[in-house]
C-alpha cells in the first residue's frame, strides 16, 4: 500500500518533469528537472530493492554529471550564445510521431503483461509481483556477482574509463574544428 503510493507519487513527478522538459527553453530549469527525474528514478530503484544502483545513480549523476552540466551552463552566461531552436510548428510532426509511439507502446505493454492478451508464456511470468525474499539484491550480493561472474566485464569497464580519461584530456587540449582567422 505504502509502496504503491510512493510509486505513484514518484511516477507523477517523473511525468510532470518530462512534460516540462519538452516545453521549457531555460537551460538551468531543464537541468534541475533532469535532476528531479534522476532522483525520482533513484527512488523507484529503492522501491524495487536495488539500493546500490540507486545510491550510485545519485552519487554519479546528481553529484557528478549534473554539477558539470550546471557549471557549463553558468560558464556560458546569459546572452553569450546566438541561435534559435526550431519554431514550434516545425516541431509538431515529431511531437505527434512520438506521442503516437508512446501511446502504442503503452497499449502494447499493458496488454502484454497485465491482461495476457497475447498469451505469451515466456513473458507472462513477469506479470505477478515477486515476494520480497525472492528479490535478493543487496550490495553484498551485487559485489559477489561483479567479482565472480562478471569480472571480465568489470575490467573492461575500468579500461573504458581509463580510455575516456585520456581521450577527454586530449580533446580538451587539441581538438580544433576550424583554423583561427
Amino acid at each position: 500500500m505504502i509502496a504503491a503510493l510512493t510509486f505513484w507519487v514518484l511516477a507523477l513527478i517523473v511525468f510532470a518533469c518530462g512534460i516540462y522538459l519538452v516545453f521549457t527553453k531555460n537551460m538551468v530549469h531543464a537541468a534541475l528537472a533532469l535532476m528531479l527525474i534522476l532522483l525520482c528514478s533513484a527512488g523507484l530503484f529503492l522501491l524495487t530493492g536495488a539500493e546500490f544502483i540507486a545510491l550510485s545513480l545519485i552519487v554519479v549523476y546528481v553529484g557528478g554529471i549534473l554539477v558539470l552540466l550546471l557549471f557549463f551552463i553558468f560558464y556560458l552566461g546569459k546572452n553569450s550564445s546566438t541561435g534559435e531552436d526550431k519554431p514550434f510548428r516545425k516541431q509538431m510532426p515529431s511531437l505527434f510521431l512520438m506521442g503516437a509511439w508512446l501511446v502504442l507502446l503503452c497499449v502494447y505493454l499493458i496488454h502484454l503483461f497485465d491482461l495476457h492478451y497475447f498469451k505469451l508464456p515466456a513473458l507472462s511470468k513477469y506479470a505477478q509481483t515477486p515476494t520480497s525474499e525472492q528479490s535478493v539484491s543487496n550490495p553484498l550480493e551485487l559485489g559477489r556477482l561483479i567479482f565472480s561472474e562478471y569480472v571480465f566485464e568489470f575490467e573492461l569497464i575500468g579500461f573504458l574509463l581509463l580510455v575516456v580519461l585520456v581521450v577527454v584530456a586530449w580533446l580538451s587540449a587539441h581538438l580544433v574544428f576550424k583554423k583561427e582567422d
Binding site: 517523473v14 518530462g18 512534460i19 519538452v22 537551460m27 531543464a30 533532469l34 527525474i37 528514478s41 523507484l44 530503484f45 524495487t48 530493492g49 536495488a50 546500490f52 544502483i53 554519479v60 549523476y61 557528478g64 554529471i65 552540466l69 557549463f72 551552463i73 560558464y75 556560458l76 550564445s81 541561435g83 531552436d85 515529431s94 511531437l95 512520438m98 505493454l109 499493458i110 503483461f113 497485465d114 513477469y126 506479470a127 509481483t129 515477486p130 525472492q134 528479490s135 539484491s137 550480493e141 551485487l142 556477482l145 561472474e149 562478471y150 566485464e153 568489470f154 569497464i157 573504458l160 574509463l161 575516456v164 577527454v168 580533446l171 580538451s172 574544428f177 576550424k178 583554423k179 583561427e180
Partner: protein
C-alpha cells in the same frame, strides 16, 4: 492499482525514452541534446532494473545497470567536452550554427 507490475516500470521507461528522443529530435541547443541523451540512457536503466527485479532467477540486470551508469558518465563527459570546444571556437552551442567542421 495496489500491486505494481513490471509494465508500470516499463511504461515509465518508455515515457522517459520518448521524452529524450523528442528533445534530441526537436532541439538545436547542445545542452538539451545532452539532457535528452541522458534521459534515454536513464530509461534503459529503469528497464534493466525492473526486469532484474521481476526475474526471480538471475540478477544480471543490476550488474548491467551498474555498467550502464559508467557508460552514461563516459558518454556525457565526452559530449560536454566537445560542446565546450564548439562553444570556444564557434561562440555558439546551437548545433545548426556550426557549418564547417574541417581542419
Amino acid at each position: 492499482m495496489y500491486d505494481i507490475a513490471l509494465s508500470h516500470y516499463l511504461i515509465i521507461g518508455a515515457f522517459l525514452f520518448i521524452i529524450g528522443s523528442l528533445l534530441v529530435l526537436t532541439r538545436r541547443n547542445g545542452i538539451f541534446i545532452l539532457i535528452g541523451l541522458e534521459l534515454m540512457i536513464n530509461a534503459a536503466l529503469i528497464n534493466f532494473v525492473a526486469f532484474s527485479h521481476f526475474d526471480t532467477a538471475k540478477k544480471g540486470g543490476e550488474v548491467a545497470a551498474l555498467f550502464i551508469v559508467v557508460l552514461a558518465v563516459c558518454a556525457s563527459v565526452v559530449g560536454l567536452v566537445i560542446l565546450m570546444k564548439v562553444y570556444k571556437q564557434f561562440h555558439t552551442i546551437y548545433v545548426d550554427e556550426v557549418r564547417q567542421v574541417k581542419e
